[in-house]
Symmetry: C5
Subunit: 355 residues, 5 copies
């Protein structure tokens, strides 16, 4: 079992006294340089251009999707903001990785932030990554913290023209990206479910001092996940009810489906948490049982031998006038007596189910 | 007691990266070939045709009910979808057995999914089966996971023309199917109630290490059941309030009754859960009592004999100058003394109710 | 203490597969033949006719009140239903004693079902009886499970013309009946309060193994009562807000008062439940205290005598070269030493408040 | 510590079967004769008349305030009701001291009932007194259970013409009375806070068996207080939102302030309750710690001396062939050995922090 | 570890019987003389004047900001109230440091009260300071309890003309002040998070009796913080929804952002509380583990040596006829036997994992 290097969980870089809208990256830089991919597509074609100095203009013929991996570079973020006229508060939120999932509407588009999760089963840790999406008429920006190609499958679908992705407006791309992330939650929840099964096994066969710590760790992780999912649910609900001009009516039914998936993930999470709580009770009662078992052994042994030890002590006394010591069969009779006493006691403990 | 083969509870087959609406069966195939029954009826007649290659058209003279048992065959599901113009998301949901109960309206009809339950008392396991119902003008589709003839009684009523089933529109058939499923919940809850009674008996007479595990198992099952019933309640509430053109006003009063039954089942479930929680407390306090009892026995025996053993130890010493050893009645007096000490202690323990 | 014959608490007779509206009595028959009283009154007179074969027509000059005790006879219920045109679902509910309290409106009247309670202090059991009331223009039906003359005082008030009962329409009679039942709740809650006091006394003076079982029993009963009162509160709230033509505006203020009483009963119930929970904690901590007390006795005795026993053991050894054995005052000195050791220890334990 | 004479907490005198509106005093009579003070004031003058047989008419030139202390005299209450045309249900509520705090509007005025509290720190008991206020155009009635001059300061303010009390309409007097009562809550909560501090001190220094009982008592009191405050909050909220003709718009802002005070009191109460719960946990863990400490003493003593006793027992055996007994330094060597064993064990326990 | 001087937490100076609007300072005076700063600014200039006898009139050309540090001087507060026509209830609230955070609107402006927090990690205490802000057309008053220059950064921004602060109306200054305070919450929550980490470390390595007290202390602090944040959230929500003429539409988006920060702080707080609760469970189970460990040591030692002691006792008896004593190898055989018994037991305990 690897040891976990703990980091203070809610370390928020001090923004004390800065005017609002100040761009400060509050996370841990996960890659050297930001990595920007610009894709443009419509029903007929799909083209992707590697990012060079200049940001492309939004072309009404195409849906333009700019995917930014690495959000620590405040200059880049600011440039994007300036070029596409994004509200400073949105830019601030993109760089602040401590955001709660939320949905907000602005004049030029709408903003969604949520988290992608991976699970490290060995350390029982959930690794979050903040994803921000800002979309409007014909454009979508997505911002990820690290390098991983989270949206590879979406790109493949765009490239091959599979499904109806290319035929639909920008908000459907947003849906596709969100769908990818939410689907990932089920994977994480599955893995957590397996860890819980393992813990249950461990409790029932071989409780150790570490077991409790593991439950504690996992509980803390689920707690964080829960808060995040709970906010996401709220955000998705706002998204569905949105009457923004940038959200197409036809996308609504898909969003509702996505919302259902969130609810489902939340349900599974709640079940996991309740299972974990129930596991804790199981753990406590296992301790109680173990403690009882230990005490029973002690009691049985002590209760049988202490009286016998008294008896043999009696006949170890050195009184001058001590008739029993001189009878021929005293020793033999004493053994018989002691064996009978021991047997009666064993019988008694057996009836009490202590043996 | 059979041992339970545990399966990871929320195993969701990976649909990561598939476009939405992809038909993937997420459950465990329970029968070889799907089994399709086509029934058509109106107030005058009822006919059932075994399913052959072609799906019958919806005949406005009749209510057409197509009951599909076995939902692992994505081709069949897709064919049904194509033939009767069902939204792809509905088809996806039908095949995804991890759905939460829900009610949704579409252009051509409405969709309800819920679960049927059986209870295996020996393993204290609730066995769920997902049921999906899609209904519209003059037609009802029902999808079950396994082969069991769940709706046999409904078919009998249709066949014999009992009740008003044949005289009413398609939504009343939906009501009849739901009523059959919800009635089944009470049976399951009854059986669970009996298991709880047995557990209470077990705790009060003979707690074993397994007892806690059993409570834990049952609690987990009730938890799952609760989430499902809770969603169902919501879904039913939406169904009742529906102003869909496919839901007849006259059916409303029956749906309200059905909703009441759901509430009632939910109440019983909650009571069962609370009883289970109370049982756990009882269990913990039984452990505490047992532990106290063990310790009392140890304390009584040790407290009586340890001082006596000390006393006899005293007279076992080998000092040269040891006056008591030489008196005539020392031994006898010592016995009297020891018996008095023991009696006083016994009296003390009796007053403390430790005996 | 009488032993309680436990019955499965939620035994619902199987109605699986019956068409809705089927009349099945789901309770335990409590009297031989149903007992029907027909009363008719207006501001001027009150007459009561024993029930004979034919049910009287509703006479617009009078308020007709038909009180049925014993609801197991489905023929009678059906006949009443047919004669006065009551919806089949109401009839089904009247005979199903597992109903949650509810209020429903129909074309010809409104339907209220709730429970009357008695408390058996010896067994700590609440005995429920389902009461159904169906009322409309100029008529009231009341259905009770058993023979007890629950509404005797109401009849007396009608007979003597006391209060304004006779001067008001049928809905005021409904109010009077409900008022009688709700007043009975306070009696039951009072008696439960007394049982709780007794249990507290018992815990503080003489905890036994049964105590926990008693708390568990009472908790379960309160749980059931709570669910029932909670539904009743909801039902009453619907009743108050009703704009049914059968509920007079002048009755509204009385219903609000009745609703207040329900709330008050609910409050007392909640307080009782919290008290019971607090009692459980008290119980657990009493166990802990007792366990500590036992262990302290053991520890004190063992800790004093084990070292002394060691000491006397030392001088019981048979070494050839053992100087102390031969000194004149060895034995005496040893006693002094042992008494000093014992006193020091006693002092130590006293300082620790273990004595 | 005085012993508390416990009374059944929710003793409601039986009103079973009485028609609604019957005047029955449900409390314990606290003074011989009711004490009625009649005050009349306007911006210019204030006069108070001792109550004689006849109740004064309401004079539109003045605000008339009738303060009744002692509410057990149903004749008096009935007379007041008749004279000033108060609804019978209000009169019934005034005499029923088990009322939940509430606000109700009637044709001729509005009715508020709430509780005044005193705290007996020695018995950890909250002593409630029901206050009822009925007010309308130019008149205010207040009803108190006992003789205490609760509203002395209000009278002084009226008398001296301090503040704006005399210049405002009747509803402002109601506000002043309520303000007086709610201010008293903070005093009670302060005193309870002190008791909690004392209990915490007691737990951390010297837990006794009584401690738990005290926590239990206080918890029960807070529970009752909480329910009452919770209802009051609701009632105040209704009062604020009232559009009754008897509530002046200018009073609204003061009522909002009063509502804030209620909320504040409620908050403090909740904090007290949570503190108490946390105290209970502290108590339980203190017990656990104490239990561990006791066991550690036992274990240390027993573990050191039991092996040594075994050793000396060995050399107390009487075998004919027992070489060690005859060596010159056996006895000395044995002592050295035993001391080494004891030291090793002490070291071990020290490392385990059991010493 | 410093010892904490506890003060009764909710000491509210008695205002019993005072007319509402009476100015009574309910806190502890933290500085000698109040310290008043008057700033005036518009987009072009910023000037600050030290406070002299006379309060400046509000100049429509400027935003006037009067910052008062030290609120114990009721004369000053009253003077400010008179000069700028502030409602007496607001003045009363400013001086009452026990206020719950709230937002209220008056004719001439709006009033917000909330708390600023500092955290003393050594004592695990949160030190609150009440901040009141009253603002209207072109003016802002802020009231702080102590001398600390809480708003230094805001003054710098005003002075240097950084950000858009000077270009915006008075309500934006209010936003800037609130933003400063809320940002401070994250700092406090971070520090608390670190304390929790330390406590977890302490529990897992070296539980002491103090640990529980520390958790208890921190829990109480978080409780108080939680109530305050919860009220603040409510207040902020009212502020956002305000349609007061003094709140500019353009400020709305910033307030929403501020509200988000509140929510975020609240989330972190909740997570901390849950972590603390989980820590308590960890603590209890550590105690249980320790208790088991102690008992296992006792049991192992006692169970091995008690039977052996019995055996050696047997051969210490003084019977005349005691054959074994006379055999040549008895002593040697006994040792072998005892070692075998001991080894078997050790093996047994090893299999049970007690060693």
């Amino acid at each position: 079992m690897k040891t976990r290097k703990k980091e203070p969980p809610h370390k928020k870089k001090s923004k004390l006294g800065l005017p609002p809208g100040s761009l400060v990256f509050t996370g841990k830089q996960k890659l050297e340089d930001p990595f920007v991919t610009v894709s443009q597509y419509n029903v007929e074609e799909y083209r992707t251009t590697p990012f060079q100095k200049d940001l492309p203009a939004v072309d009404p013929q195409y849906v333009t999707w700019i995917d930014v991996r690495g959000i620590h570079d405040s200059e880049l973020i600011e440039k994007i903001g300036r070029t596409y006229n994004i509200h400073p508060l949105v830019l601030e939120d993109i760089m602040d990785v401590q955001q709660r999932p939320k949905y907000e509407e602005y004049e030029s588009g709408f903003y969604i932030t949520l988290r992608n999760y991976k699970y490290d089963g060995e350390l029982r840790t959930i690794i979050p990554e903040q994803i921000s999406i800002y979309a409007g008429r014909n454009f979508v920006f997505s911002f990820q913290e690290d390098q991983e190609e989270l949206f590879a499958e979406v790109i493949t679908r765009l490239d091959l023209g599979r499904g109806k992705l290319r035929a639909r407006p920008a908000d459907y791309l947003v849906y596709a990206l969100l769908d990818r992330i939410v689907d990932g939650y089920f994977l994480v929840l599955d893995q957590i479910g397996e860890t819980i099964e393992e813990l249950e096994e461990e409790i029932l066969t071989d409780v150790t001092r570490q077991t409790k710590g593991k439950i504690h760790d996992l509980k803390r992780e689920l707690l964080t996940l829960r808060r995040s999912l709970s906010s996401l649910r709220e955000a998705m609900s706002l998204f569905i009810k949105s009457d923004s001009e940038f959200v197409d009516d036809n996308t609504g039914i898909f969003l509702r489906d996505l919302y259902d998936h969130c609810m489902q993930a939340f349900d599974i999470l709640e079940t996991s948490r309740d299972n974990l709580t129930s596991l804790q009770d199981l753990y406590i009662s296992e301790l109680g049982f173990k403690s009882n078992a230990v005490m029973q052994v002690l009691t049985v042994v002590a209760t049988i031998f202490i009286p016998l030890t008294f008896l043999v002590g009696v006949y170890g006394m050195n009184f001058d006038y001590f008739p029993e010591l001189h009878y021929r069969y005293s020793y033999f009779v004493l053994w018989v007596l002691m064996i009978i006493v021991a047997l009666i006691m064993l019988r008694y403990f057996q009836r009490k189910k202590w043996l």
